[in-house]
Symmetry: C2
């Protein structure tokens, strides 16, 4: 892995601080300084006019647009349902003129630039001193998104005249001319109302006809608010005022947004009124945000002693996970969250496999809501399976609204990890929560439909002795259209078995719910037998002698490429190698067999894990940002502490230090969660797939102490580890826990030698 | 194969006759009645206004346009050089009004419709009686393309008043408003000159900026030619005249077209003048055409006694092969020739493998020119190889101008049969002609660059004991991205060996040419060793016991689908099955292992052919129109005469009887040649890959007699076979020939028992 850090921000335990401004880092910083409250997100772009590089981006969760033209897919089963999270109104847009000179950091002269994101409040503050010939002013911008009343957003602009005086002109806009993908103008304004202190605007996306109802209120310290004649798609209030030396001008803007998916009627305007009524002011919202985050951090902070950078890094990750998702909506989590246009706001199988554990161990109710997204979109998945000539439900590889948004058939038609991932997540969630109500009401139906899909998509080998999946792409996306990919087959086998277990249990213990389900789905005993047979006969390519699982049939016969012979300027291979060349050697993009061993960790022996790690890791180039953390976790388990720490090296700071040089597109939200996994599963040694929760911490050399908290069955478990001792504290009832290799009934707390197995 | 005939045209040995008009057959008939002279082609659309279903199409060989927007290919190596043979000026466009009523067969009343294509002259005549309330007229349209002076085209329109009288108005156009792909308007007019009897127009394609210079001359029997005010893109002359009962009106239009690829200058206008000077009249051109076709038919007619339909069918095939290509241009042969927009005028590997033999055995000079197209476009193939991260020359899967026009990476990046096909064709041509001049000047360089490409695209297996091709698609396009496809590996092996043989021979016998070549290409002995090693170590998946070649590594382990269980309405599978579903079972689209056994027929034993035919044919669904003929030829060789005739059943009449229901798009030009192969290689038993030419005719039950002629080494060989006797007559010097299983020195003629081996 040839990745290097760009050290740009100050290291600080609770803040991200940019001192001085490098225009080359402008777009990456916009991503880093993104604010979100799940309902909406706004990149950290400059409020005022900026003629340099920028990606103005404001997004609303679940608000999407359709392409101008549907794709011209030449073959059946290729998705024509693309859609993307759409760039929306720039409600922060401002123009500031001092003596008719615009404030523009790309053109003017300035000093003392400082931008700070406070992870204990979600407040973003930017301040600089702008110097003109005739005056010098300190300008401060503050913004935040209300976490409690999440439809509301606040902005404060302060201009203090340090030297000279100026005719100040401030224009504050609601700007609907934002462009998506650099040129597409997705919005039209349906209705607007002018008020003395702002506007109320109803806008609609052109193709998907989704609506956004926005109300603003502007309060100024001095001057009169007036309405200039302005463009049709930009709603402007302006204030002109003479600012004398030492005087300050302050503008506060309070904005409420309501997303409306269907037709707009009077009820929506009423809802908006209610929202506006709850709108407070910047300082109140800030106070409320602080209280919210204080509680959140108390639940799931991670403390690392001896490694300030990773401490800041992991907090940045956790902070952004909460910014992106905390269970207030019925949406999924996009690969870039609400921080950019890349990946179009689509959620991938990452949600169930990489992100869900964070929520399972911080707030299981939030985790359940993520699963409910899959239940809500089960009809879409059933429709998608039909398009693929299959039965049951095939979950999309990329989606925002439940439809398959990926137009690349080689992914959308060949990758089934979204479906097996949902099944795994249902199992994982129920395993940890015993939420049988969910399982019976929603989980069972999803499991059944996924099993149906898999049973119809798989095939028997020619002599009918083995069942497997042909023409698939496993998690390793450098192997396309392979047969009997071990990950796919194994996950399908476990899906079949779990579906059968749940359905049998339902029949016995919940007969009326079972009857309802069979009636709704036409499920029969024959089908259950079919699932069981296919599970039993599932082809798993395993060699008892070497203990190797073959990634797919024929993988061991592929031409070998020594990854160390690839020159650094050839990475990422996706951009530098001919497309077909990616697919015809034994290079691996991201863990495949090893991913299976991460998910069903305790179903495999230490020897199996060691053999497969030693075989596959050297072939893996980690071109997915999700790859290193999984390797780090397994390396820790295998006692390769230094290797584990090397893989971890850029987990928490992937975006802060822009290792992949693409932070400008948005944050790698799923990787943020992988960093959490890396610490809690890797160094904390958490394992959640066995009968008992297992905790087995071990520290990398440079760390003095690691402390993390997880929520589990109504308790908070706090784990604190030093090189010598590990203490586990439990709130609430006593709990049976596996610590290292032994079972303990833990009552309040226990202290063991770090590394186990001896008590102390 | 669930294909059925639509019997629509009269059976006739030399003509295609449509009696009566079925509007539902309109577009298919336009394809059937296409005229072409290689330089240009025009579909058999109605000259006069026709408001029914029609595809107006006029094409010039090598004249192409580019897409409005370049493709947005997301990955490296995916071609962005798409281009298409463009629909051009409709120079036949006519409007006819009788007493202000337009003649339009979709609206008016008519009888006695007859349309006839004469395969002995290339003349197309259409006649009908148009009945209005106030008059009845017989209207005749004739057209032909001059075969000798191929830039010239002629049209005659005759209107005879049978009853009543009429104010006749005829408008004759040069219409540049033609649309491509139903909506794209590719042309703009650069310059136009009005003359008393017509126009001279210079038009240009919008994107590719290729030009067409057209001059017309209109001669009428009565009336004055005048110029109505008309549209900018339509150039019109009109004649108004009162036509009394029994009177006839005649219009003759003579048109010359000059295609100009680069910038237009005065030299082109001079060339046009010369062309116009050579322009004669309809009757003279018709006479000249008759003489041309008389000579052609004498060289390569096929006669079948006892099967009128196939007699007409094969003549239709041969006629259209000559219409499409006869060596006057430096272009290749598009899959639909000059008869429609489908396949965009692109040539595929079909040219070298299916079409070339027809020209090799009718006029080797024409065959050579087809190979020269590949030499002319060698730089494009070298560039294409670079795009694929390879060395040498990778020939495109689809092209008109030499660039890869196929935007589907799964074909363009994975199929190497174009490259190995060119190498095979060079070998085949030189093998039959001993044209060492060509081999040394052009062939060797192509062979070297193709071998380089293959050497760089292939890979060693992990233990370096075998070399092969990974991630390819063989001729069977239902198996994508497979490893060690036997066809690909075997063809590459033969390419390496032949390239080495040629290069060694050149070094010894043509040292100065060899020196030039090594200087030009940087070729070295090391490279030759590399080719030889890779040939020797080529992985060929062959089982000595079963004599089976495995189509690719793992083919025998694919799930089996019994093709007889697929319902007829699922065909073609491309349109009815989810795209991925095509690729994950043992169904075969078209011959793959068997194609290798057709091309290098005599390198395999009868037992090998039998074993592989019996294994692969039952898995083949013949979704390519090229598939049945190859199976028919091999079935004949294996003594499966009835099966062979069943496969042959729709070879000659694929388009005449519209078996695939897509003749409306254009003729299956490569299948026309497959029909010729089917008769000459299948029933005639010709084999051209051994040391001696082999002839081993055998007749299907229903045929009484088969006679065919081929050209070979300056001689004409005429083969005449009945159920009992086979006579072979040779013009010119005596020749050693293999007839059935014996060698004969044939002087003038020889007669043997049909089926051999006994002389009579």
């Amino acid at each position: 892995m040839v990745k290097s850090a760009i050290k740009y921000y100050e290291v600080n335990p609770w803040k991200i601080i940019e001192k001085g401004f490098d225009p080359k880092r402008s777009k990456a910083s916009e991503s880093i300084f993104s604010l979100a409250n799940e309902y909406m997100g706004v990149r950290g772009f400059f409020e005022e006019t900026y003629s340099g590089e920028t990606l103005i981006g404001t997004y609303f969760n679940g608000l999407y647009e359709l392409p101008e033209k549907p794709s011209n897919a030449p073959y059946k089963g290729i998705s024509r349902k693309s859609h993307f999270m759409v760039n929306s109104v720039n409600y922060l847009a401002t123009e500031i003129y001092l003596n008719n000179q615009p404030v523009d950091l790309a053109k003017g002269s300035f000093t003392d630039f400082e931008r700070t994101l406070d992870m204990q409040s979600g407040e973003l503050v930017r301040r600089f001193i702008f110097r003109q010939k005739d005056c010098t002013a300190e300008i401060t911008f503050k913004r935040l998104l209300d976490v409690e009343n999440f439809t509301n957003a606040y902005q404060v602009i302060e201009i203090r005249m340090l030297e000279g005086k100026a005719d100040l002109l401030v224009k504050s806009h609601l700007d609907y001319t934002v462009k998506h993908f650099g040129s597409l103008k997705p919005w039209k304004v349906i209705e607007s109302t002018e008020k003395p202190d702002g506007f109320r605007v109803l806008a609609q996306t052109k193709k998907s006809r989704q609506s956004l109802l926005t109300d603003e209120e502007i309060i100024v310290s001095h001057g009169e608010i007036s309405n200039p004649n302005d463009k049709k798609m930009v709603f402007t209030k302006q204030i002109a005022f003479k600012l004398e030396k030492s005087e300050s001008f302050k503008l506060e803007k309070r904005v409420s947004h309501l997303v409306i998916h269907g037709g707009v009627d009077s009820s929506h305007k009423k809802t908006l009124e209610e929202i506006v009524a709850k709108r407070s002011c910047y300082e109140e919202a800030l106070k409320s945000n602080r209280a919210y985050f204080e509680k959140k951090w108390a639940e799931c902070d991670i403390e690392i002693a001896g490694d300030e950078e990773n401490l800041q890094g992991i907090r940045f990750c956790i902070f952004n996970l909460f910014q992106t998702y905390r269970g207030i909506s019925s949406n999924n989590i996009g690969a870039k969250g609400l921080t950019g246009e890349a990946y179009s706001g689509h959620a991938f199988w990452d949600t169930e496999t990489y992100i869900l554990p964070f929520y399972l161990f911080s707030n299981p109710a939030d985790a359940k809501k993520l699963l409910m997204f899959r239940y809500r979109t089960l009809p879409n998945a059933i429709q998608r399976a039909r398009e693929l000539d299959c039965r049951g439900a095939g979950y999309p590889i990329a989606t925002l609204n439940g439809d398959e948004a990926c137009e690349l058939w080689q992914h959308a038609s060949l990758q089934f990890q979204p479906s097996t991932g949902v099944a795994f997540a249902i199992w994982h969630y129920v395993h940890l929560t015993d939420d049988f109500d969910f399982l019976i009401k929603y989980g069972a139906e999803m499991l059944l439909e996924i099993a149906r899909f898999l049973a119809s998509r798989g095939d028997w080998n020619p002599d009918k002795t083995g069942f497997g999946f042909y023409g698939v792409m496993g998690p390793d996306e450098f192997q396309m259209m392979v047969h009997n990919n071990t990950y796919t087959n194994y996950m399908a086998k476990r899906t079949f078995l779990y579906a059968c277990e749940v359905l049998k249990r339902m029949e016995q213990s919940y007969p009326s719910e079972y009857a309802k389900l069979t009636e709704k789905t036409g499920f029969s005993k024959t089908e259950l037998e079919d699932f069981l047979t296919k599970a039993q006969k599932m082809i798993i390519l395993y060699d008892e002698n070497t203990r190797l699982f073959e990634q797919h049939d024929g993988f061991f016969k592929l031409p070998h490429v020594d990854k160390n012979t690839i020159s650094t300027d050839e990475f990422p291979l996706y951009s530098h190698w001919s497309y077909d060349r990616l697919y015809r050697n034994d290079l691996i993009k991201q863990p495949d067999v090893l991913m299976m061993m991460f998910l069903y960790n305790q179903s495999f022996t230490a020897e199996q894990k060691a053999a497969n790690y030693d075989y596959y890791e050297p072939r893996t180039i980690h071109e997915s940002s999700l790859s290193p953390s999984i390797h780090s976790i397994l390396a820790m388990e295998l006692g390769k502490t230094q290797e584990a720490f090397d893989f971890f090296r850029f987990a928490t700071r992937l975006d802060l230090d822009d290792y992949n040089r693409n932070t400008f597109e948005g944050l790698h939200v799923t990787s943020l969660s992988a960093a959490w996994l890396n610490i809690v599963y890797g160094f904390g040694g958490l394992r959640s797939d066995g009968k008992y929760l297992k905790i087995a911490p071990k520290l990398p050399d440079v760390w003095e102490r690691l402390k993390f908290r997880i929520r589990y069955r109504g308790r908070t478990i706090e784990v604190e580890t030093t090189k010598t001792d590990t203490e586990i504290r439990i709130s609430g009832e006593s709990l049976e826990l596996q610590i290292y290799d032994r079972l303990y009934m833990v009552d309040k707390s226990i202290k063991v030698k770090t590394g186990g197995p001896h008590d102390c």
